[in-house]
């Protein structure tokens, strides 16, 4: 098949074939990351701008390395938090950047829908590096890639996602992605962190962590950001970790060969005990490593696709 996306805005509108195509493409790029000279000339002459309205060292670095390994010129712009504060609208900022003729803008923004907004207004390609609490497609793809690496496939697997589902962009993209690839998704957390109607996106909802992880093949723990998500959702991190942290004991409820994932950065002792975070079942660093390959694949596919639109 061929897949020439102009933008990568979310997983929702991708087909299973397209997702698999991205994962397969990423397999080829993964090899480069193990070479002594980790660079190919594929995107030579392409300009990739990482426009980050929110600090995210991990995702930004991953996209930056991905771009550089493909020989693209990668520029990072860290912008003020919102257009209102800054006095310049997102459209004006984006148009100014576009006037410098980048080929791809990779954007992280605190507002859900900001990447759709950008894509509707610009001629260059847009890759969503996380918009508000909406989608984070590259994270979901690297998660699927990592599961596939460890389990060989996703079909029929049970994946449990635990934590602040309401304020997570990772969850929405993962629910779409995992469903499309045939996995079964469970979400769990205190009710304050489970948004109304989440089950309609394709998951089972649990209020009890033990039940949610029983016989799971894969457990994804979400980062709790107590300071950012409002203090009304949980009484304290201490209590949260008592009822919703993954530790050596409750991990035994999952399948013996279950893998433990985390989009990072990990709050040790909050959502994940150190023994699990460092334990044999954790694949957290594989996720990070695979993130580069996935983002190389996205940049490659979008760069090829973008040009095709012009021809």
């Amino acid at each position: 098949m061929s897949f020439n996306p102009k933008h990568i805005l979310g997983i929702k509108n991708l087909t299973a074939d397209e997702i698999n195509f991205i994962l397969t493409t990423a397999e080829s790029f993964k090899e480069i990351n193990t070479r002594q000279i980790k660079k190919v000339p594929t995107l030579r002459g392409k300009t990739v701008i990482n426009l980050f309205y929110e600090a995210s060292t991990r995702t930004r670095t991953s996209f930056e390395i991905a771009g550089k390994r493909l020989s693209a010129d990668t520029i990072n712009i860290t912008a003020a938090s919102s257009s209102v504060v800054k006095g310049e609208s997102l459209e004006d900022t984006a148009r100014n950047i576009e006037a410098m003729r980048p080929d791809i803008i990779v954007m992280r923004h605190s507002a859900s829908g900001a990447c759709d907004y950008l894509a509707q207004r610009l001629h260059c390609s847009v890759i969503n590096a996380g918009d508000g609490t909406h989608e984070h497609p590259s994270q979901a793809l690297l998660d699927a890639f990592t599961i596939r690496q460890h389990k060989g496939h996703l079909k029929g697997l049970t994946v449990t996602i635990a934590g602040d589902v309401a304020h997570s962009r990772v969850v929405r993209s993962n629910i779409y992605c995992l469903n499309k690839l045939g996995a079964k998704v469970r979400v769990t957390g205190p009710r304050t962190m489970l948004p109304v109607g989440i089950e309609k996106l394709g998951c089972e909802v649990y209020y009890n962590l033990d039940e949610a992880i029983t016989d799971a093949d894969c457990i994804m723990m979400l980062r709790i950001q107590h300071e950012r998500q409002g203090k009304t959702l949980i009484p304290s991190l201490r209590e949260y970790s008592r009822f919703f942290a993954l530790n050596e004991d409750n991990l035994k409820l999952a399948k013996k060969d279950a893998i433990v994932m985390h989009p990072g950065p990990v709050n040790r002792g909050v959502e994940l005990s150190s023994s699990v975070a460092d334990g044999p079942q954790n694949v957290i660093l594989d996720q990070v490593e695979n993130g580069v390959a996935i983002r190389m694949a996205l940049l490659y596919l979008v760069a090829g696709g973008e040009k095709l639109q012009v021809n």
Partner: protein, 423 residues
């Protein structure tokens, strides 16, 4: 000066008239409504095939004048009103300066009289500066021409102040007009809390935020015996609370907007900032409840909450976009859909758009009674047209209905017997 409107179908709910007859106007005042009036008129308007109704009365608008004339002013706003068949409107006090003084009230009334195309009856603020601290000078404001008091989008949170507002306003037989919402429940929400918000990853505004506000305000009205008008009800709970309150004799009235009985939260998909408003567009069950409230008479008026915003204020990320849409020019065709849907008879609908809202605000308009000021609209019920930004007379074009095919339009609007709009 005599004007005769001939051959139309006259609907005047106040006088229970729905008949083919003529209307005679002399010096801006209605002289006679009867079949085959034969008189030598200076001007004859042929209303064959048209509906002749009292000019529409919209008791919820924002004219943005003074202070935000880049969004709308009294000239453009009343022109939009006339184009929509609206001859009388109230305007909310969230101007700059806030309408909490006779000076601002008189500025608005005078500007409308001198340069406007519709009558304006200002609603003044409940509290000085809409700060929720001290009552505005309600007696003075009534004398200056205000018809009600509201802090609109910034609901009074201070319980005692609101209690006193009901009591003090009632001293002058004036209603307290509320945007009923407990903002502490709303939090940082920017659309209706439900499946769509969850999918789009937007923070939700739960329906209980509106219900809690409505319940509190009904209780205060009941306790004080004051008069309450609840703006733009949008939830099942609000409609139910008002229905029950009315049944036990609470002096409460309410309005619904065309967007709340026409659209659901699905309209937000694509992060459409023109579908962002407060209260937010709700899910279908709430829309159905509002429509039921219109059908059974719980809801007393249809009002637009005409809220013009500049393009730049809507052309932003969804969570930071301004709330509200323009509504004066879509009021009539969207309301007529209720008749087409079989929810309301035409007479009931005209009543919801004229005499009922006028009565709530104590405005002596909305009828074709002999001796009344001749504010009249001629409506072509069959006229089909497209609602586009170019077709709007308002300065602002923020509407989720752009591109909609509409049926029914005001083709001639008369203000005190004088044609102020014609299409």
């Amino acid at each position: 000066m005599k004007t005769l409107i001939k051959n139309g179908r006259v609907i005047d709910p106040a006088n229970k008239i729905d008949a083919a007859c003529d209307v005679l106007i002399e010096d801006g005042v209605i002289q006679e409504v009867a079949t085959n009036i034969s008189v030598t008129a200076d001007e004859i308007i042929d209303a064959t095939g048209l509906l002749v109704a009292p000019g529409l009365v919209d008791i919820h608008t924002h004219m943005r004048d003074p202070g935000f004339e880049y969004k709308e002013d009294i000239i453009s706003g009343t022109r939009a009103a006339a184009a929509g068949g609206v001859t009388s409107l109230t305007c909310m006090p969230n101007t700059n300066p806030v309408n909490d003084s006779c000076a601002v009230t008189q500025y608005i009334i005078n500007k409308a009289k001198q340069q406007g195309s519709a009558n304006i009856y200002p609603i003044a603020s409940i509290s000085k500066g809409m700060k929720g601290e001290i009552l505005a000078e309600m007696g003075d404001l009534k004398e200056a021409g205000c018809v009600g008091f509201s802090d609109d989008g910034i609901p009074v949170t201070h319980g005692e102040l609101l209690r006193r507002a009901f009591e003090y306003a009632d001293t002058f037989s004036m209603p307290i007009v509320t945007h009923s919402e407990d903002l502490s429940i709303t939090g940082s929400g920017c659309m209706h809390e439900g499946d769509v918000a969850t999918e789009l990853g937007l923070q939700g505004i739960p329906w209980v935020a509106e219900d809690a506000g409505t319940a509190r305000e009904i209780m205060l009205a009941e306790f004080t015996g004051g008069r309450l008008h609840v703006c733009h009800v949008s939830t099942k709970g609000s409609v139910d609370l008002i229905r029950h309150a009315k049944a036990r004799g609470v002096r409460v009235s309410c309005e619904a907007t065309p967007h709340h009985f026409t659209l659901t939260d699905e309209a937000v998909r694509g992060y459409n900032t023109n579908a962002k408003m407060s209260p937010p567009l709700r899910s279908q069950d709430h829309v159905d409840a509002v429509r039921a409230g219109l059908a059974d008479g719980t809801i007393d008026a249809i009002a637009t909450d005409h809220a013009p915003h500049h393009y730049d204020e809507k052309n932003v990320e969804f969570p930071v976009a301004m709330n509200g849409i323009v509504g004066l020019e879509s009021l009539l065709p969207l309301s007529l859909r209720l008749v087409a849907d079989g929810l309301l008879g035409l007479n009931s609908l005209i009543s919801l758009l004229t005499v009922q809202p006028a009565t709530i605000m104590g405005i002596d308009r909305g009828t074709l009674s002999v001796g009344a000021v001749a504010d009249i609209v001629l409506i072509d019920l069959e006229r089909e047209w497209t609602y586009t930004a170019e077709s709007l007379h308002s300065k602002s074009k923020n509407s989720p209905f752009l591109g909609w095919e509409m049926k029914g339009a005001a083709v001639k609007t008369l203000l005190a017997g004088k044609v102020v709009f014609e299409r």
